[in-house]
């Protein structure tokens, strides 16, 4: 087991966003988090990456208790990649500089070695000629693929993806999804929050439905989408179907 989230609670003001949430993720497993907007998917991912302090519970990564206050969060984040809905590339750096920043500054690789690795990745995802461009010259789909490469180049044990296609124009969604599909083929362990139910169905080994600050229902996609046992899940899915997204 790579990730284990145990009874995690996260409160904003008086709002319990996560309320005793449990989740475990095995190596090479792809877990999709679904749930209404505001159900806490982003918050959960941010907690796992230690970008938010949790208010109760524990999170374990590779057998290490990472929410122990004595643990250095910078060291933990070096082992986890996260990609955000809004890409968050650094606008003052070229694509190559964005990707090589962490390898050079955090992982102490030489600039040459890091640049070579970055170019190899960019070639793989079809962005080789964009290496020296600034992010504002790239389409949303290209920016998001760069953001994924930026996370992957550090060889994380776990990749967190937070609605990485929601900010994209429909015709650009495919290129990002196919990249994630390739990653699954390579055995990358991933937790992804998504609105793309069709994609979750294809790529996820396990689908978790978040509701009331907990994982209300989880199982293989055929079961959660095809034959949900919880009324709340059925209600959520029927709203999604109405919106034409399944």
């Amino acid at each position: 087991m790579i990730l284990s989230v145990q009874g995690v609670r996260k409160v904003f003001g008086s709002h319990r966003v996560l309320d005793g949430l449990d989740l475990s993720v095995d190596e090479h497993q792809v877990v999709a988090l679904i749930g209404a907007s505001g159900s806490g998917k982003s918050t959960l991912l941010r907690c796992v990456n230690l970008l938010e302090d949790i208010d109760d519970g524990m999170i374990w990564l590779d057998g290490e208790h990472i929410t122990d206050p004595r643990v250095n969060p910078d060291k933990v984040r070096q082992r986890i990649g996260i990609v955000f809905q809004s890409y968050n590339l650094f606008p003052h750096m070229t694509v190559l500089e964005n990707i090589t920043l962490a390898p050079v500054r955090v992982h102490r690789r030489s600039a040459k070695e890091a640049a070579d690795a970055a170019r190899e990745w960019l070639t793989r995802v079809g962005l080789a000629e964009k290496a020296d461009a600034y992010p504002d010259r790239l389409s949303g789909g290209q920016q998001q693929r760069v953001a994924i490469v930026r996370a992957l180049i550090n060889s994380p044990r776990l990749l967190l993806l937070d609605e990485v296609t929601s900010a994209l124009d429909p015709e650009l969604v495919g290129e990002v999804l196919s990249m994630i599909r390739d990653l699954k083929g390579e055995g990358m362990t991933m937790v992804l929050a998504t609105h793309e139910m069709g994609f979750a169905r294809q790529v996820a080994d396990t689908v978790c439905f978040l509701d009331g600050g907990k994982v209300l229902e989880q199982g293989p996609p055929e079961q959660v989408f095809g034959d949900p046992s919880e009324p709340r899940t059925r209600q959520f899915l029927s709203r999604i179907i109405e919106a034409g997204r399944l």
Binding site: R46, N49, L51, P73, D74, K75, R77, Q78, I80, G81, I82, F84, S86, N88, L89, F90, P91, H92, L101, A102, R105, V106, H107, R150, A151, N154
Partner: protein, 274 residues
Amino acid sequence: MSLSPAQLDRIAYRRRQTVISVLIAAASTLVVGVLLAVGLTGAPGWDRVRESFFDLSVARDALPDVAAGLWLNVRLLVFCALGALALGLLIALLRTLRGPVFFPVRALATGYTYTFRGLPLIIVLYVLTLGVPGLRLEGMPSVLVLGGIALVITYAGYLAEVFRAGIESVHPSQLAAARSLGLTYRQTMRHVVLPQAVRRVAPPLLNDTVALQKDVGLVSLAGPIDAVRAAQISTAETFNYTPYIVAGVLFVLLAMPLIAVTDWVTLRAARRQS
């Protein structure tokens, strides 16, 4: 590539409109210029004004001394601008330090910006250039250096606030992205936040530098012979105010390139935002 008649017609029409606009602008400028000249020279007392402020022979005599004084202003400006930028950035950074150990440092830096933004420059100048030499301490720097220090510490207070505004304008998602890659807080500041912050506040920083270039003339209050002081000396000799006008014109000429650069940077920044 051949253009359609409609496009050719549009181009011809726009060209005619441009010619007409230029002609109108020229005529209007001419009319306003003549009115101003007639109004000014025809006004009662114009002769006396011209004698005391625009006496060409006095101007010619004063120019070498005033220009020599201006060279001092230029050197002072360069050192003070660099010093104030460095000190301002340092103070802004000290204010961002986190953790209980740094509480006193943060408090001092905050107190500094409050104090020196509220304190009139002239008081700082008098205390440092007139008061401090009176202490007759060993190794006292010259009045000029003390005046420069007064300018640096005062302007650093403003510039620190400009830098801080820039640092705070960088969106939290940029910090999250950097931290998520494993960068430490300091690395995040150094590689992600500061470069964006400085770019964003370049226009106001340059603007403050223009203001500094004027205030550099205030060191004349303490005695060093800069352009203002040279003009004052020559005015005292001739009982004519033309030397001040000469110094004023030189200051404006000196500021022009800096102002032009500021406008250009501001325009470019505005364009990049849109």
